[in-house]
Amino acid sequence: MPEFVRTLLTKAQMAEGVAALAKNICDANQGAESLALVGIFTRGVPLATRIAAEIEKLGCTKVFVGTIDLTQYRDDLNTFQMVPKLEGSDIAFDLDGLNVVLCDEVIFTGRSVRAALEELLNFGRPQRVQLAVLVDRCGREFPVQPDFSALKVTLAAGERVAVRFEEVDGQDSCTVQTQASPR
């Protein structure tokens, strides 16, 4: 079935969005001795790494970076035609007492964030957990809202936000894909 694709953010706008997220996270965490940015696998990981780099440029605080793999937390694994390979979470620092910012490229239903919180708390007891996303789109099924977002959009049910990062996909892009209805 053919797809219509329209750009939501250009590469430059994505970079501006990341810089804005870093600035807002710094402002909201003034006085914190250190921050931990934890990316939700897959594309939350490059987002977390880029925000961390921007925060370090701003010199506001020390930043740890970790990753969370939610595969083991999916409640729909049984419906998968293929069993996914696990990446595993990697949080190689002590979370206790830290301000943690979970990072994901898009928030939609809120289910991933709920699962990420469950996995995160298996590593320790952070002081505070915030959520940063590049794109916040409507359609929440769980009462979870981002603290920081670069772009907020309202999309129709059949539309899908696709964010690509050079580190994972070989290019930076942020588009909306709409599947054409069959005639």
Binding site: Q72, Y73, D75, F80, Q81, G88, S89, N122
Partner: protein
């Protein structure tokens, strides 16, 4: 990776499936370092252990693995069940089918029983040892343990020592090692050497010749205590002297930096001494720990009700 319903032996696994199970065991093992060693992957599912033969570590290893994946775990107690009144395996399976368990972990003295059960249930069946036939999760955990030491096992040499003829561990692990490109040799008394050994597997009757083959790892098999009275060797002391890992042989392992494995439980003083157990390159405890991670990986991969 395509899901599979049952795990019955190593021979039916593809290379890709073996790699999938071994690779996914790594993140599962990472869980053990955390204070909360549990994920909700199998929440709401039930694993039942059905052991017609006694077991210490395999059964508890499966139970810990399932618990860490949040599955409910139950044990079908053969000793106090209708099996002792003469109920057949298939009648038992029918009962379990009615209970709608998702995984059945089976050990049975009769080769092929897990296959029979697998054909008659929607549950995923995992062979935890059947007769002389197979013990696939032991082979997978052995491979996983060696892979932690030698990233690429190709060309690595394993000497398997002991009652090879009657050992399902030897059968599965030997096949597994060869599938991963390792060279395997056997050291056993004539009475415990299989009649038909694949041509690529050298056979030795004494340690001197076996050491000359330059193994990287020594894999000792358990001398099954029930066989100690059978005429496979004169006495336990005689077996130890000729085929056991004596303290002098531990020294040779140390000089050459060889690793030591054993599927457990060990008969101290028969196949291994206390000194051997304390040898710094003895991997027995790692095998036990890795057994949980590998079995978690197997449970994660299998899909109850999937079409085989």
């Amino acid at each position: 990776m395509t899901p599979r319903k049952d795990l019955l032996d190593i021979a039916s696994l593809t290379d890709e499936e073996i790699a999938f199970v071994l690779d996914n065991a790594v993140p599962f093992k990472d869980l053990f370092k955390r204070s909360v060693k549990k994920v909700p992957t199998l929440k709401g599912r039930t694993m039942l252990t059905l052991f017609y033969e006694p077991s210490t570590r395999t059964r508890s290893s499966f139970e810990v693995a399932a618990s860490r994946l949040s599955a409910d775990v139950t044990h079908f107690d053969i000793e106090s069940s209708s099996v002792v009144k003469g109920e057949s395996v298939l009648d038992t399976v029918e009962t379990l089918e009615a209970m709608r368990v998702d995984y059945i972990v089976v050990r049975h003295k009769q080769s092929g029983t897990p296959n029979l059960i697998a054909r008659n249930t929607r549950a995923s069946v995992i062979n935890a040892g059947d007769g002389w036939h197979a013990h696939p999760t032991q082979a997978l955990l052995d491979a996983f343990t060696l892979r932690e030491i030698h990233k690429d096992l190709r060309g690595c040499r394993a000497l398997i020592v002991g009652d090879i003829q009657h050992s399902r561990v030897a059968r599965s692990t030997s096949l597994m090692f060869r599938r991963l490109g390792m060279n395997v040799a056997y050291l056993a008394p004539g009475s415990m050497m299989p009649r038909e050994v694949p041509q690529e597997i050298p056979q030795f009757g004494n340690w001197r010749d076996a050491f000359d083959w330059k193994p990287d790892v020594i894999y000792l098999l358990r001398v099954q205590s029930e066989r100690l009275d059978e005429p496979f060797f004169p006495t336990a002391a005689e077996y130890h002297k000729n085929y056991g890992l004596t303290n002098e042989r531990v020294e040779i392992l140390r000089e050459r930096g060889l690793h030591l494995m054993h599927p457990g439980p060990v008969n101290r003083g028969v196949e291994i001494t206390d000194t051997g157990m304390n040898y710094e390159k003895c991997l027995i405890n790692q095998q036990v720990e890795n057994g949980i991670a590998v079995r978690m990986s197997v449970l994660y991969w299998l899909r109850p009700g999937a079409v085989e």
